[in-house]
Symmetry: C2
Subunit: 338 residues, 2 copies
Amino acid sequence: MASPTLTGRDWPIDEAAGRDVRATIPDAFRLESGGRLDAAAVVGRLHGPETGPLVVVAGGISSGRFAARWWSWAVRAGGPVDLDRARVLAFDLLPGRDEAGVTITTTDQARLLALLLDALDEPAVDAFVGASYGGCVGLAFAAAFPERIGQLVAISAAHRSHPAATAWRGVQRRLLAFARDCGREAEGVALARELAMITYRTPEEFALRFAPTPPRAAGEPYPVCDYLIDRGAAYAEATSAARWIALSDSLDRHAVAPGAVRCPLTVVGFTSDRLVPIEDSRELAARAPNLTRLIEAPSIFGHDAFLKERELVGRALHDALSPLYALPQSTLAREIAA
Amino acid sequence: MASPTLTGRDWPIDEAAGRDVRATIPDAFRLESGGRLDAAAVVGRLHGPETGPLVVVAGGISSGRFAARWWSWAVRAGGPVDLDRARVLAFDLLPGRDEAGVTITTTDQARLLALLLDALDEPAVDAFVGASYGGCVGLAFAAAFPERIGQLVAISAAHRSHPAATAWRGVQRRLLAFARDCGREAEGVALARELAMITYRTPEEFALRFAPTPPRAAGEPYPVCDYLIDRGAAYAEATSAARWIALSDSLDRHAVAPGAVRCPLTVVGFTSDRLVPIEDSRELAARAPNLTRLIEAPSIFGHDAFLKERELVGRALHDALSPLYALPQSTLAREIAA
């Protein structure tokens, strides 16, 4: 059933797996802000077999259409999002890196995805699996296009942004703008990424991983700094300040009424998440009219648990998607149901 | 007993209250790093009556010898640190704002305070009340000069720095260095202050105080951003990047063996403190050989609770210092003792 070039039990999947798909953005397309995008097209990538249920996967602001680049353990043949059984669509978030001054919403991202589905002649997705930013887009998609979604799995994402997360992201945006203003944008991106990385993780993880060994002189890095500097440097060229500002702002602008998310909904939240407090995941679950399941779990990885807690997230995905594959649910699901 | 120019029931105390005292830093004085200070003197300020027990107060990195500027509710006539009854010494942390490249430790700060006590011909302090950075200096002072301290009250301060706090401060230091490098130091100080302010507070406070109202366009401030921008701007000229880097680094370099703190010790910690986790306050209390009392409390203010929780901190100070004033302990102390 699966095309041999797209699947195979190899892990991680070949980055080149899949084929690009695109939808022209009509001239008349306006963002909720009233603005327009310079981009001519929405670009996605279809992974997996030629037929089968259609699953959209969407991740954090640094994710994109190459699912293998950001969620290779989840999206693979035989994996929780099973490339042997499902067609998996991922897509690039807009704006592109060269567009400045864009005010975009998660609903706009959902509308752009709808354009892509139109171009693919797909009336609906069987499941939308979104984590972090992608979870927000999934909620916005479910609210805006209730007839086009079979079910939603929202991981490390809620219906609203928390003011403390806005505080952290606001400083990142001002840092990005400052560095760009200084003509040293890549350094600003690296430094903002350092800051962001701390918010993605937990103090407990840092305490376990990093010794407090002081450097020779003030201003030099401690072990935890070496790690952050490294993560920042690796990201310096990954995005532009303008694109990051637009996506960061859209997270803070994100607000979806839980009652509008009418499809079957699985919410996965982590008690250590400092960007999406577990209380917000609980509130989303409590107010959604068609909750399948709320899974809340501890994790030493905080917001990044959606990337790191393979066992728990994998089982949650498997359980949510197994009806699409006509497979039995996992022990986890049976235990929780018991 | 009190000099009328120095005290009075007015609140806050007159900023000009007290008199400056200073100690020349000997040529031979070397920092633990082996370096020297450009500063010629340690400058302190004595508040309160001419006689009475001597209480040192030391606060955060932005505190200094004018106690009224940073702890006016605590240090005042009739207050928890009672200017009617105690002589109160505060001092300026070194390095000064024009010194670059200084690697200083909390033990160095304690040694500089010892110079000041020598100049005042004071063999010992009756009590050292230190909060945040000042608490670290107090711990270092108690360890380095056990014969020169009657008791220590350490608030929102522990014997070591937490790697997550180092992570936050490290990003601030690199941001300060970056802005200085760009020739826009004051803007860097403001932005680093914004970041620091978030670490001083809690998500719960931000959620209560700030609406999620989005601005017109991406890059513009949300309500929580307005607050942070305001706090940053107010601090832009308060310090230099170099001085902040030195003091910030010295917090991460801070490491005092709890067993070396042999004087009677009161530890006050807040469960919401994200820079000094309550576990570290507990560990300090558990391992100190002469613990008077560990007070741990919730607060919506996180690390800044030492500035904001007037009732609890005030009572803790009163209880610790009342034997010096020969006053009865408060209800709080009796309740805890019961």
